[in-house]
Each structure stands twice: as structure tokens, then as C-alpha cells.
Amino acid sequence: MKIVVIGNGMVGHKFCEKIVDKSGSSAIQLVVFGEEPVQAYDRVHLSAYFSGKTGEELSLAPLDWYRGQNITLHLGDPVQHIDREQKTVHSHRGLTESYDYLIFATGSAAFVPPIPGTDKKGVFLYRTLEDLALMTAYAPQATCGAVIGGGLLGLEAAKALMDLGIPETHVIEFAPRLMPRQIDDKGSDILQTRLQRMGLQVHTSKSTQSILGANAITGLSFADGSTLPADMLVISAGIAPRDELAKQCGLQTGPRGGIVVNGQLQTSDPHIFAIGECALYNGMIYGLVAPGYEMAEVVASRLTAAAEPAKAFTGFDMSTKLKLIGVDVASFGNPFTTPDEGDSIVLEDATKGIYKRINVSKDGQLLLGGILIGDASAYNLLLQTCKNKLALPAEPADLLLGGRSAQPANMELPDDAVICSCENISKAAICKAVEGGHETFDAVKKCTKAATCCGGCAPMVKDIITATMKAQGKYIRNVVCEHFNYSRQELLDLVKVKSLRSFDEVLDHYGHGDGCEICKPVVSSILASLWNDMILAKGNDTAQDSNDRYLANIQKGGTYSIVPRIPGGEITPEKLIVIGQIAAQYHLYTKITGGQRIDLFGAHLSDLPDIWEALINAGFESGHAYGKALRTVKSCVGSTWCRFGLHDSVSFAIQIEERYRGLRAPHKIKSAVSGCIRECAEAQSKDFGIIATEKGWNLYVGGNGGSKPQHAKLLAADLDSATCIRYIDRFLMFYIKTADPLTRTATWLNKLEGGMDYLRNVVVNDSLGIAAELEKEMQQLVDAYKCEWREVVENPELRKRFSHFVNAPEEKDPTVKFETMRAQKRAAEWK
């Protein structure tokens, strides 16, 4: 069988690929005629030419590919005549080829409105590589550019003129708004403002009457009598299907152009098909690449009999996302529903230049379509929700607020949901690739072709890869190390059920080998979180991380720091004096920390018990600065002094710090209480933060400073103090029981399936029915609290372990060296 393809554009090329794929190359002879001098290239990303992509880089396949597939490719040689009786085509250069089947993939040309003067120098179209090369050559002499047409392509062309360095650029649109087929008036207003801010002048409701200038363009004149000086013009007023050849050989065409086809893409001659932008299906030209690819698939399947019964083309979703322009613009489904079709929910933020509209069915169940301007990050998920008729959340408005949790999880999409619409790749195909071992984005791209075209689906593809791997247990089951084949959460449950109390017992029951520096601290943390026993008791001391083992952080040079607890940052002058005296006596460097307390540095190991004894006698206790434990609860001064304070934030901070002091967790925990929304205690940067409101307290969770700062999110609002503490109990205990080792609450929450909504359900609505248990477990830990430094100070056996030399306990490490700086000591530099 011999197939001749007219046109080597995006769809014509895709057709070749599909035939090769489906037929195994030998059975079918393929001959392709292309009018352009180069082989098919990525027209969708044509504008990338201006950001330096070469024609070669844009090409969809090298010439070698065609050769390798035995495809005869005639470039720069348009077909000029077709003899349907003889079933032959004749080319411009005089070639004649016979065919069994003929495929029109001639695409479309830019539509040029009948305005006098379009032939003047300086007037361009925006369709081919050649057009762009001509524009690039002309641009340096231009000072004022204009584009006729404010649609998808017109805006892209305008951006191109700006990128070409033309000082002033105007867009002229005949309709009263930009992108009239995709967005509504309000959306257009916002888009116009944003474009104007970028330096693009927009004129709507302007009808161009003629192009001024003798030889070259000098300006435009409009129907309203006004004129605009311009020395370069791009016409982008729509597309005109290339049906001239079809007309000439007597095929049926539409009144406004396009080769008429049926669901099989057959023209009025059953041996001739038309696909892509030249085909008119159901009275419609599909001016996007994805429907063209789908048409190529239908015809290729039919001609190779790959699909039985034959697939049919049934129309295509025309949702689009504008690229490259620097403002997000997207429209999907039916963007313009009328009030009897559905209700629209609109979010408009003129200051930020954001406009979002979603159209919801009358019964509130389905998403019909929408428009996104200024922020189209939700486009993919909304599009999928719309296309797959997924149920909407109870408050559809949540979809607009961008909360990720308000959007359906990718895994809820049906298997046949099309994720990459350019390449028509379903969710199932991506999952299958992942299950087949393609576990990175690049590997999946290569294997499925998903995300290789416009790339709009890339975030979704990545999410699906992660979710699929998770479902296979690859992500979630984070075993501790070679000695324990369990995740931290599993191990915690096991240790609890068996009531194990020491590292050795846990290793005997559930591990093998001797343990290591990874599993020892994990198990120690689990034991502490379950029982809150003294961590150095029961032979558990050598299973602690080094800092926990000596109840102090080791510093450069081998000395230790001492951080007494100062709840809420409140301290009496007397206690301040004691700290000063002890620091002077033991010659310690003192510093106010970022956590509203005082750190004493440079203590020899063997001095630690004596120093702590003195501090404890003065009423201090351990600050757990060395543990993965509660650190500080910072506070602002609050209503006792501050003129804005709503409640007494200091008292509440002290109450909270004293409740959770000594609480050990997968990572350290920090908190703060602010007396009003001015937020001087920075509560929103904490693992849990509390801010006073008129009616009570707002509780935020999951904040983090450190190298990847993140703001905490509101868990519950306007709580009374008792409820606030109950929710904190539940939140912390749930975190302690389920987080991976060394995972702060922020990271834990980011990874938690269902995110904040899920957490709120567990903590506030008790959806798992475990709230009472969590509270009880927390209360046990609170009741079991003892200052571990007091226990050491009072226990001679434990005290003995704080010596440098086992065989010379009274001697200090002679290698420790200090230097002097600003009248205090400091550690000597690393050697």
C-alpha cells in the first residue's frame, strides 16, 4: 500500500510517526511532499526562535529519521495538481506519484484581512520559520511595531516584537476585548492592564482601514478616523485553512474554508483524508495541535487496521493556556456559560492582576469551564476536573483560592483521564511506565512522550510519578537503616505494643546487628516519645545521639554549651544575676540566643554537672537545647504592657512551654505566642504558633525557619485556651507518632496525604477517632516529665560519666584551646 502525504507540518509528521509505529515500516510505502524548505518543526514553540532556538533545534525529527524509516520526503516541492481518477499527484518540480490513499495535512495559512496595503514592506505574517527570519532581519530598523489581532497568536507575535527590541509595540483588536474566543470582558480588562504594565499598548474595538506609506509601512489608519504611526506590522487576524488544492480537484470544502471530513477524517473522496488545521469537522476548524494529533491517530489506525473497530474523531476540547507572554492566561471547557447553564464564581484581585472565573453546573456538582488570568497554576487540575467530570468540593470557591488540598488529588483521576493532551497520553499510560521501572520525569517523558510538546502537563506528570511510586510502597516505606527493616512509624507501634523500654530490647525483638548512628537515635527518640523515661537510664545512654548522651551540644574544640530553660523569655533580675555569676565562675562565653534565652559556651565535659548543680539550685532546669525536643516557646510582651495586646501572651507561652518541656519528637519543636496580629513573637514561623484574636487564640501549625523557611498554616481559629492546648496535644502527638526521623513538622505536613484539610479533620473533627487517645498519651508524657539534668546532678553514678579520661577523671582535656575576643573567650579555630 502506498500513501502520499501532502504537507510536512506538525500533523503530517505525527501521521508518519504513527504509521511507522503501527505498521512496522515495511508493508506501507510513504511519500511526503512539503512546501517549506525544511522538514517538520515545532510550530507551537515557534516563538522560541527569538530566544535563540535554531530551526534545527525546533525540528521534530532529523532527516535521517525519515531515511531510516524509508519515508520518501520531497521538501520545498509543493503538490500542485491531483488527478483523482488516476490517483496521482503532481508536484511543482514535476514529480508524479501514484497513491492508494492520499492525506491532506496542508495546515492553514495566516488569514490576511482585505485591507489595502498588506503588500507593503514591513508587513509580516507569523506562521513559519521563514516569516520569523524575515522579521528578525527587518526589526533593527523598526521603532514602532504593531500587531493586527489580539488573539492567542497575536499576543504571542506582540511579545515577539518586544523581544526583538522594538521600542514601542501596539496590539490592535477589532473586538471589544482581547482573546475574544477564550476570555470574557473582565478577564480581558485585567489582562490588558497587565500587558500595558509590561509596555504593550492595547487598542480594542479598532477596525483597521488601511496601511499607510508609499513603499514601506509608516502607519495604520482606522475606521474611527484615528491613525497610529508604525514601521513594522504583523498580521495575526486568524487562520485560513489551506484548501486551495482540495477545491481545485473538486473535494467538498466549507463555505468559509476547510476540507469537509467525516468522523473517519475521510473527505468526499473515500481514498482521500484530511487531518490537522486544514480539516473541517462538524463545521469546525481545530486550530490547535492536540486535535490534529488525534486526527492523525484515527487515520493511521484505520489504514494499518490497528484499531478494530476503527476509532473515530468526535471533536476535541479546545482548552488552552497561553505561553511565553509573561502573564498566565488560560481558558478551559466552556468559559462563557450563561446564567441558565450554570453559576459562575469569580475571584478578582485588580492589585495583583489576577482574575479567575469558574463555571459550575446549576446543581453545584460539575465544573463546566473557566478562565484564569494572572495565575494559571491550577489550570491542569481544573481542566482534568472539568474533562473527567470529577465531583467538586462542597465549597467550589475553594478551587479558586488555590489551596492544593481543595483540588482533587491526581490519583483520583480515572485511568483514562488524558494527562498530556498534545500527545494524548492517559494517566494509565504514565502509571504503567512508572511501574515498568521508569521512575524519573525524564524517563517517563522518553518512554511515553508525555510532556514533550507544550509541557503544560509536566507538574501533573511529576505528581503522578510520585503517587504511583508511593502506591507501590517505594516512597512511604522509609525503613530506618540496615538494622531495622521498619519505618519509624511501624517501629513506634511495635515498641508500644510490646512495651519495650531500652534500645537493646528493641534491637533484640525487631532488629539485627549492633545498630548504628542512624537507628540508635531513632529508637531512643521513640522510647522517649512513648515513655519519657530518663534518657540516660537502663543502659540507654550510649544509644543516644552524642549531644543527648552528654545533655549538651558539643562545640568546636570539644567543649559544651549550657542552655537553661527560660520559659517565654521571661526572667527575673535575680536569676539573670545567677547566670552571670555562674558564667564568671566557670569562665563561660555568654550570648543571648535567637530563642529568647541565654547560652553559656565553652564548658569542659567534667564541669557540666557542677555548673548544672549551681543552676538547678538557683531554680533553673534543662532547656533541652541538645535534644530533638521542645526548644523554646517565644513570646511577645503581650497585654500586660503592650498597648495593642489582646491577651497575656507571656503567661500563655509560659504555660505552654512548661506543659511540653522535655517532650521528645522526630525533630526539634519550636513555638511562640503573639499577643496580637502584629505578630512580634513570629509565631507563624514555628512548628506551632499561637496568635491572640479578639475572641481567643488562632492556632497555626507547620511553620519552619532554617534553610527552607515556610509559614505555618491556620489550623483553627478563635479558640479558648483549654481547647487550644487540647488541639496542640493532638497535633503534636499525631506528629510524633507518624513522622519520619529528623522531619520537622513543616516537611511532615507537606508530605502528609491530604495536607492541612486532612490534619484539621484528624485534630479538630477527630475523623480517625483517636483524639482522646492522643490527649491521654500526651498527658502521660507531661506527667512523667522530670528535669534530666537534676537527675544527673543528684545521681553519683551518672555524674561519673561526665569525665574526659576514664583513667584520670580529675583531668580535663589538655588539647582544648581558647582565644580571646571582645573581652570573652571563644573556641580556637579548627586546625
Binding site: E482, H483, C516, K556, G557, N807, D813
Partner: protein, 120 residues
């Protein structure tokens, strides 16, 4: 300090077995040297290495966490968690790091002896 001298190794008394915490280490002073001594209670094996971590030259290895990697005994430095084999002293997680000097250990009842070379 009592010491037993054989031809090329001097065995010096370090401490009592009970002075070393189970599955942990202590630092032993020998003349001007510091030696880290470790006891693996599960296998009842003893190891000794220099106390100085070669990474940032910190006297800290005796305070590190002990464990095994594929059965090989090791210690992790408290400072930056470099791990060293207690069998031959090589660094297990950084091939460019210097190795530790290791010393033989001998028990006599509840007395622990560490052997240092006479050449040293």
C-alpha cells in the same frame, strides 16, 4: 600505671571492664596520648583507636555512637558524623579522609589492656 612489655608491644592497663559503658566508648590517657576504647557488648568485642578525629582534628571519637555496617564495627564522630571502621581504622563514608590508628586490646579478668607499639 602498670604495664606489661613484650618484644614489640607494650600492653598498658586502661581501666576496668565495668568502667566502659555497654556498647559505648571512653577515652584513655596514655602518656600524652588519648586513645578511644570501645566495648561491643553483644559480641563482647573490644576495640581501641586514636581519640583524635582526623577530619577537624577533634578529640572526640570516644564520645561517638558505635555500631556496625554490614557487620563491620564502626564509630561515628560526634562533630560531622564521619564514620570509621574499628577493624582497620579506615573512613567508611569519605574515601579521602585519613585512617585512624588502631590498637589491640586484651582482657585479663575484669582488666582491660591496650597494646601500643614500642617503636612509637
Amino acid at each position: 600505671m602498670s604495664a606489661i612489655t613484650t618484644t614489640d608491644i607494650t600492653w598498658f592497663f586502661a581501666c576496668k571492664t565495668t568502667d566502659v559503658p555497654p556498647n559505648g566508648g571512653v577515652c584513655v590517657k596514655y602518656k600524652d596520648e588519648q586513645i578511644a576504647l570501645f566495648h561491643f557488648t553483644r559480641t563482647n568485642r573490644w576495640y581501641a583507636t586514636q581519640n583524635l578525629c582526623p577530619h577537624r582534628r577533634q578529640m572526640a571519637l570516644s564520645r561517638g555512637l558505635t555500631g556496625t555496617q554490614q557487620g563491620e564495627p564502626k564509630v561515628a564522630c560526634p562533630f560531622h558524623k564521619k564514620t570509621f571502621s574499628l577493624a582497620d581504622g579506615r573512613c567508611l563514608n569519605d574515601e579521602h579522609e585519613c585512617s585512624l590508628t588502631t590498637y589491640p586490646v586484651r582482657l585479663e579478668d575484669d582488666r582491660v589492656y591496650i597494646g601500643v607499639s614500642n617503636a612509637y
